[in-house]
């Protein structure tokens, strides 16, 4: 069972206080988008063994959504950051690179 620190209220939250929200940093495509764009937005998800970016909601706590960078294989948490972030904070990217030198940053993950 994970512990993730909610960046909104500062609580080190037990997983049972949290609700998962799937992959983070997905760009919304609405009317006017191509079928391919819309398919990618709606269905295409990364499923890495390793570094992953996720959405979580502190559902039983402050109710706020936040984002987390963690490793799906070891469950190491590289950091949590606000849901309003369009980019991954530098400190988190640095930590990922320090811990996982072989990690290749996906294109959709933007540095701050």
């Amino acid at each position: 069972m994970l512990i993730l620190t909610c960046p909104c209220c500062g609580i080190k939250a037990d997983e049972t206080e949290l609700a998962p929200g799937g992959e983070a940093h997905i760009k919304r495509h609405g009317p006017g988008s191509s079928d391919a764009e819309f398919e990618a937005y709606l269905f295409t998800r990364a499923n890495p063994r390793g570094v992953h970016f996720e959405r979580w909601r502190h559902a039983y706590g402050c109710g706020k959504w936040f984002l987390a960078a963690r490793a799906t294989d070891t469950l190491e948490v590289f950091g949590t950051y606000p849901a309003t972030s369009t980019a991954v904070p530098d400190a988190i990217l640095s930590r990922i690179r320090a811990r996982r030198p072989d990690w290749i940053k996906p294109d959709r993950i933007k540095p701050a």
Binding site: L42, R57, K64, T74, T84
Partner: protein
Amino acid sequence: MSHRLPSGGRLIDRATTLGFTFNGRRLKGYGGDTLASALLGNDRMLVGRSFKYHRPRGIVASGPEEPNALVGLGQGARFEPNQRATTTDLFADLVAQSQNHWPSLDFDIGALNGLMSRFLSAGFYYKTFIHPRAFWKHLFEPTIRHSAGLGRPTSEPDADRYEHLYAFADVLVIGGGIAGLQAARTAAESGARVMIWEQSAHWGGRAPVDDPDVEGMPPDDWISATLHWLRAQPNVTLRSRTMGAGVYDHGYALGYERVTDHLPGLDAPRHRLWRVRAGRIITATGAIERPLSFAGNDVPGVMLAGAVRDYVVNFGVAPGRRTVIVTNNDDAYRTAITLHSAGLEVAAVIDARARATGDLPQRARSLGIRVMTGRAIARVRGGGRVTGVDICQHTGTGAAGALIACDAVAMSGGWSPVVHLWSHCGGKLIWDAGAALFRPDPARAPTGADGAAFVAAAGAANGVMRGAALLADARAAAAGGDAPAPEPEAITPVWIMPAAAGPGLRAKMWLDFQNDVKVSDVQQAAREGYVSVEHAKRYTTLGMATDQGKLGNINGLAVLSDAQGAPIPDVGTTTFRPPYTPISMGAIAGEARGDVFQPLRRTPMHDWHAAHGADWEPAGQWRRPYCYLRPGEARNDAVAREILAVRGGVGLIDASTLGKIIVKGPDAGRFLDMLYTNMMSNLAPGKCRYGLMCSENGFLIDDGVVARIDEDTWLCHTTTGGADRIHAHMEDWLQCEWFDWRVYTANVTEQFAQIAVAGPKARDLLQALGGLDVSSGALPFMSWAGGRLAGIPLRAYRISFSGELSYELATPAGHGLALWRALVDAGQDLGVIAYGTEAMHVMRAEKGFIMIGDETDGTVIPQDLGLGWAISRKKADYIGKRAQERAHMTDPDRWKLVGLQTLDGSVLPEGAYAVTDARNANGQVVTEGRVTSTCHSPTFDRGIAMGLVRHGPDRMGEVLRFNRVDGTTVEARIVDPCLYDPKGGRQDV
């Protein structure tokens, strides 16, 4: 025979005699006994029978690794099967019975299986029961079910209570032997918040039995001094009778505290499950002795050497009067010395090693104990009890030499560190060939949230068995740093005895005593190609018994490794999974049983409903009245009565469970236009509008009426199930996508009790209360007004889900019951009734209104339901719009909503499909529609239904055939979904 010694026993109190019952026989033990020691003290060595062959089984061990001494404990609602006698503290009037035998423990029919053992070898089940196929269902399965299972649970509800406890520690030490105590002390001295668990009632582990001194002190003195210090520290929590059951991600650990097992009847939780988050975990879980694999090693009277001296030292009980010790290591000589010191006869120490020159063997020799090196036990004599052993050369094939008469055999194959908790969360092991054991690999420890190791093993659990090295190892585990390397154990691995034993002997060498797995079974599995240790385990059932292979697994995999010619570390171990030993279902459930099994949500009028015949229906965690039963009334009759009363007069339904969400802000209108398929921004204050919400996939997820409260505030009603879900959906979009939009939401579902007042006399009823002007002029259809009725503050929404004149009254929840009662009282002359959810469902079906969850199932878009009128074409975007433009969503062949009327007036089966004569490529019947809602309509006195049908709206009047579960079909005509008052005059008066 096993017996109580005239003196000794450091844990028992001979002044306290405890009577107990085993298999109906009244026996006596002492305070401080375990059930196992008390049974041995009464010469009850035979305590059960094995699972497969029903072989007689005696006590083998003294702790949680015990595979044989499983008993049914207690009576009635407190009866519990499969309790280990070795970890059951004796208490007055304990009642236990042995298991897995019929008709009696001493004479057991199932033991005939033993005669069949050559036909019941590894993989017997797989090979035998697979053919002929028909036999499985009618012969094999019933027979196996009859004989399967170990122990029978009681059918009565558990009489005890249980609880969970969340706790936090910087350092959690699991195991209260001297390594654990030392680790806890070292950690506490650093100022850390420390918790330490010991599974038994006693601290100190094996040291008082095994060690002459600890840091120059008698072990008991060292233990009590350390405990005294720890107990004085405010930052240390000590729990005995608490087993570390599992170690999980991010420092999570479960502790199983047996609070009252030894104090039955005490009004306290029986078990407490500690749910702990620890910064670091130190596993000081000790080691478990391995049996030796020689023929007849399962005969009652053959025990682990460590257990034999435990019984003597701790309980003053001797398993036998004349004991043979068989070993491959020096440690077992402790048993010889202990027995000798207690005045018991040691017939011989049979040592498989060519030489035994360590301190312990020399001390044994100096006491006059006969030591026979290079020897082995060829076979054990005796059936229900050991009578002697045949001795042979260890390097040979087992040609018997001397017979040594004895009534007990103490065996030691070396010690295996308890690596379970280390391994639960991914810790890896290394094979230490010199010491012949697997121990934790510190380079591959479980890692936590920060990526660093969070588990360290200490002491015997780390392969450091005793002495100063053990304490140094414990300090290092607690403080970090490296401990000096321990002195190597004096051991020579022996996996079968004698080394070149033939098939006849190997078929009598037990690896798993509970599941009857022998050396020959594992060798056979290897021959038949089971390379993976996990597969071999399942094929042979080795280690699959309730003890999970604590005794036999290492021996088993060594045999497998030998059979494969592969080194032991290449074969590896099976997976160690929590819990370490079985824990009670009650502990897992904790408080969640009975009334608090799960939250039961109640509206403010709940008790009124209950007092007036409510026939409850769950709606999520809510309970809603399905109908109100009058004395002697059937459900269908009650529903029909309620519907006719509403249609003809006036009725009340508790609609408090409907979701109510306030959406406010300068961008609230814009936000709601994205959320709903239709326009909400242009709704005038004071007005209501029905709206649909879709997911980004385009599918309909919720519906409800939106009221505009003021210029920048809207109130959104959701379905009962939608309140929390839709509020979360709104917050998701607001927090994560449109976080620059100025909108706040508040879920006020529970702030209001809501009552729908429906029926042609609804207005009369409200006017009877007095206050708010509810006339059609002041409060027209699809509008709302705030005010008071009968002095109670409320909002009245003129909306209708029944097709009748209807008001939904929302009052602060604290006034809900008062408003409901006022309506009931004022409505007596009007014949007001309370109606339930089923009447509501039928009335909306008569009106052709859709219901989320009936007409929708996560694959239905509003366009399928004839709700195109509620989809704005003017809006550039709304959630789901792009998805609804996809090719499959605009396919003209999509099934669309229609009404359905059976030709014979019967009620269509729920979920029935419209079948055609065509078949698809797989030979399946082609369908062209399905029923989504179906019921008997009292208004029309016939079955009515709605369904989704291919090209349905274009096929009005056509007759379809719907399947029934009995294979027949029923004909129904496609009609308009709205049967009742299609022009809508009744609701808009």
